[in-house]
Symmetry: C2
Subunit: 206 residues, 2 copies
Amino acid sequence: MSNRGLLTVISGFSGCGKGTVVGKMVDSYDYSLSISATTRKPRSGDVDGVHYFFISKEEFEDRIGNNGFLEWAEYVGNYYGTPKDYVDRMLSEGKNVILEIEMQGGLKVKEKCPEAVLVFMVPPSADELKSRLVNRGTEDINTINRRLCRASEEIDFIDDYDYIVVNENADICAQDIHRIICNEHKKVANNSEFINKIKQDFKNIK
Amino acid sequence: MSNRGLLTVISGFSGCGKGTVVGKMVDSYDYSLSISATTRKPRSGDVDGVHYFFISKEEFEDRIGNNGFLEWAEYVGNYYGTPKDYVDRMLSEGKNVILEIEMQGGLKVKEKCPEAVLVFMVPPSADELKSRLVNRGTEDINTINRRLCRASEEIDFIDDYDYIVVNENADICAQDIHRIICNEHKKVANNSEFINKIKQDFKNIK
């Protein structure tokens, strides 16, 4: 079947456990993470090409003009974007690439890369999400309520996503997403080379 | 998640092992078979409602007029069709239903039932298919060549199918299709009820 990798976009509410699940997909199923380009200055410990590609504002804007990003956004005065060439290279090397990103970004990726698989992760319930955020203890109740408010707005985009997965257990959720991607590799649309070979075989055998 | 079953259409060349794989899906994963309606007379051993629904020509034509079939065709003077109400009832009872059918029929089903999952099964190679047909020993070489010729024409429809699976081993192939269906149940489009509930939960928690 096809040797090209697939791009998986994973979105979900803050606190639903995306980071843990993505980590398990990298460790257990050999997924590669997409690396963002940014114009923000490196902080201590930041490694160029590992945590981010650090580039200048001019280069970033040039690349925007050359359609060089699958998506990009400005945040607190800095640009952040997903470099198209980097993701393309990984996919053609047969790697399955994960992009953890918010929903608006995910939908922009789907426009430029229609074969990308958009997965939305939800907690078992809204109450469960609230108690996870509270128990995390890193934010005050006003911030938590803002996050929940944002979640309730963001959820309207879900209809444009491909799959919904419930994260009750990170190991099972990582396996669920991995199986989705294994099956996407069996899509007719992702196997044109293989199908052309079969078509040729059958024309030749007559 | 959703409790409604999914309709799986399985097509593939004569001799590629569809029957064996479908049997394993019924036995190992609890899939239900769709039952065709036909106007042909019952033969010895045929049980109405098990092998076929035997109905009169008049009733069949009435049902065609009432949009009562997911697909139908005439073959050697008799009608054969997939009854819409029967399949609908099984799906709403939460059963995953399998319809083993040729490709033109499969595409008609997709028109009436867009959420149906169309799976095309191929043998490991055209040579392998030829030797399976020869080894079966039930047909002379001319019939086999006609079948291969038909296969080479039919394969052009593959681009309208959803998934392609290679049948090298019937147990693995049945498991592959079962996993495809499990994942289809996670499609956003197949979970509108569940998603509306989440949306409501999040509106309420604010």
